[in-house]
Symmetry: C2
Subunit: 138 residues, 2 copies
């Protein structure tokens, strides 16, 4: 690491201890954390970091396109640090675990003009639902 910090600095981000810690948490974990989980891990490295700062920083990272928001269920948003390789998600309906997957087709091509209703379509998210091996065994 960390290309991420490099890129951020290059974009004129003011580098603070808090932002570094949040970026490191995301960069290190290749899972999809909730804001609260990010906060918990950040606190472990920098005890006095506040919740608001974590939320702010996550929001900024999303705006910058460095991190993706994933809203697979009603519960908390999750943050996906793998923003630079397009991929989709496979979610366990029971335990909520998320895996990145790379399907073969291109769903954007599957939406004909007649189904676009004048929208300027800019992206697509595909969420597969199922039951993971662990939960199936239980």
């Amino acid at each position: 690491m960390s290309d991420l910090l490099e890129r951020l600095r290059g974009r004129g981000w003011r580098m603070t201890a808090q932002r570094r810690v949040v970026a490191e948490v995301l960069d290190g974990e290749h899972v999809h954390l909730t804001a609260d989980e990010v906060h918990a891990r950040a606190v472990a490295k920098l005890p006095e970091i506040s919740r608001a700062t974590v939320y702010n920083t996550l929001g900024e990272l999303v705006s910058l396109g460095e991190v993706l928001e994933v809203a697979t269920d009603k519960r908390a948003k999750r943050y996906d640090p793998n923003a630079h390789r397009p991929h989709h998600h496979l979610v366990c309906a029971q335990c909520g675990a998320i895996r990145d997957v790379h399907p073969s087709g291109n769903p954007l091509a599957d939406l004909p003009d007649t189904e676009r209703f004048g929208f300027t379509v800019s992206g697509v998210e595909v969420t597969y639902r199922g039951v993971c091996p662990n939960c199936a065994a239980a």
Copy 2:
């Protein structure tokens, strides 16, 4: 209306004024309402209905497969009464409007076994993101 009420009665649902009102709200509107919007419309027809009952009833409708939950963003879940015709969603990134769409491909077929990680995959949701004509004009 209302096949919905018929089906529910057929399944042994105890028919109460509250449930009828919630079902009517969903049946009448072919948009995707949040729980609070459903509650607001229900209150207009039956002022003393409580929020808890609306949540309960929506949850039951979802369990029965009569209504779909849609979690397109971090905000409230939306309820889609169009549960019997498979379709996907096109969401305006600015105003949050949702349109039902019917893409041509079958994304389930696009997920090879090697990308399933032992999951039993049971379904897929596709959410197209874009800007609607109204918001684009503004």
